[in-house]
Amino acid sequence: MSSLGVAMPTAARGILSSCRPSLRETSMTPALSIFQQVRGMGSNPQKSKSKGKGKGKHAAPPKTSRRGPLEFRQKNLKDMEQYTLCDAMRYLRAMEVGCNPTVIKYEAHIRLRTRKDGPVIRNMIRFPHAVQTESRICVICPPDSKHAKDALAAGAILVGETEVFEAVKAGRIEFDRCLAHPDSVPALNKAGLGRILGPRGLMPSAKAGTVVEDVASRVEDLRGGTVYRERDAVIRLPIGQLGFSPEQLRDNLRTTIDQIKKDASGLNDRISKEIYEIVLSSSHGTGFSLNGEFKTDDSPETSALTGV
């Protein structure tokens, strides 16, 4: 019974005690009355007690305890199983078997030791071995305009208006990025493609920066490099296609790490960010913490870890 009383919210207790006779006359009375006596002694005895204790014992300032640690918590990696690059690739390739080797990507997750506030790393990288096979870019603009010609020259694969709309409506979306010229936006809206392109994140909009005047230069930008940024002390970015050889992947990884170190050192004198763990995963695979070695004696030949 007493436990019941303790578990009840204050409001309920008040209500219960006020009309006690109507509910349970005998059994409930002592438990409740005792409890109320205790409450009457101080406004909230438990709370004040704990407060006093905390002041006496812990020297930690109350500010940090309320807000939590200023740095992201980083666990000791001592117990984490770590793999060499080739071993991790062998497992990942087994997990991704049968998938298109140009579509499936190796991904790096670079965990940083850093504060929760302050600047974050964000930059763009060009790899020694291009990760995007062909970032297939579609440009929606009047087909015989100057922009169309420029966009094609810059490397867009699909340029036009009505023919693009037809293709999309027929379900043939053979591009990864979609840009639009402001002149074509009314036509685009009229075609009602939002329902098809929207969920895929391909619908051009000014907010996303995909409705631009200078289509050609934007195409070049998009084909250029991989954009990455730090989120919650982790930088995640694709670093290679599944078909890459371990050497290619190593080169890309090395470039990435070098650049991130450079970014970190270039941020601010007072901000220190250092790399704490590097995890390699793939589009569908699990994450393998890398131990920094390239291969072990048991690893298969690097030629075997290339291609499909």
Partner: protein, 270 residues
């Protein structure tokens, strides 16, 4: 090979790799390899520690690191890549015999929907191909999923030089061609097997007899790991039940209180 089947009894995850954990044996040899180390790039102190395996690391992790533990638990799925149906090594160029030449490539074609006997082929891909790929990293394996439901599900095995004699016997009953299979390269011969209406086990048996792949027995550690995780699974059933009862009791109590409160309010208004 009793183990694989026991493992198979476990769940199949979203990516269709049955999850069960294991210790990692391969990485324990990860000592300094002089050739091309990239460890200079990492400033992790751990890079030279040989990774720990088995119980000790798991328990330690369980006590203090939730996040890492989750990741490690997920990582245990790699046991199912090493152990199970299809964990076998194809004859390579080095040890090929006259009857069983080296296997250079596999290609599987099946239709998108499972009716019409296309189920086994898909399961073969999900269950056996990762293991085959792990043990034969150099053998190219491709899968084509077609939308044409009427074509037969086929598995093409590519041999170096000549088609193995058993493979001819298995594939020879009715000659079929797979238009999606890549054309055999120079010096490659292919045998196409119709795998329609077969379970993945049957498909694997045929592959094994036609290529003479030697199965890799599960190592002691793998068996121990599998047992341990089977035990965890078993315990999880009881734990789930216990927690469910606990939550139900809490819910019941809350409901009771709410009812009492309702009664009180009723009596007050009356």
């Amino acid at each position: 090979m009793v183990m694989p089947e026991q493992l198979r009894g476990a769940r199949v995850s979203a990516t269709n790799f049955p999850r069960s954990p294991t210790s990692v044996t391969s990485s324990s040899q990860a000592h300094n390899h002089s050739g091309l180390p990239i460890d200079t790039l990492f400033n992790t102190r751990q890079s030279r520690n040989p990774p720990r395996t088995g119980d000790q690391s798991l328990c330690a992790t369980f006590a203090i690191m939730v996040n890492l533990f989750k990741r490690m638990r997920k990582l245990k799925t790699i046991l199912d890549i090493r152990v199970g149906t299809g964990a076998a090594i194809f004859p390579s160029v080095a040890n090929a015999s006259k009857d069983f030449p080296a296997v250079t490539r596999l290609h599987l074609t099946y239709a998108q929907k499972i009716y019409g006997g296309h189920q086994g082929a898909r399961h073969f891909w999900r269950n056996c191909l990762p293991r085959l790929k792990y043990y034969n990293p150099g053998v190219a394996m491709t899968v084509k999923q077609t939308t044409d439901q009427d074509i037969p599900a086929t598995l093409s095995i590519y041999f170096a030089d000549r088609v193995g004699s058993t493979a001819t016997a298995i594939a020879g009953s009715q000659q079929i061609t797979d238009k999606h299979a890549p054309a055999p390269g120079a010096g490659e011969k292919m045998a196409t097997v119709n795998v329609k209406d077969l379970t993945y086990q049957e498909i694997w048996n045929r592959v094994q007899t036609s290529t003479n792949a030697s199965e890799v027995p599960a190592s002691e550690e793998d068996i121990a790991e599998a047992k341990k995780f089977a035990a965890i699974e078993e315990k999880a059933v009881h734990d789930r039940e216990r927690i469910r009862a606990k939550r139900q009791a809490k819910k019941d109590q809350e409901r009771m209180l709410a009812e009492a409160r309702g009664e009180v309010e009723k009596s007050q208004t009356a």
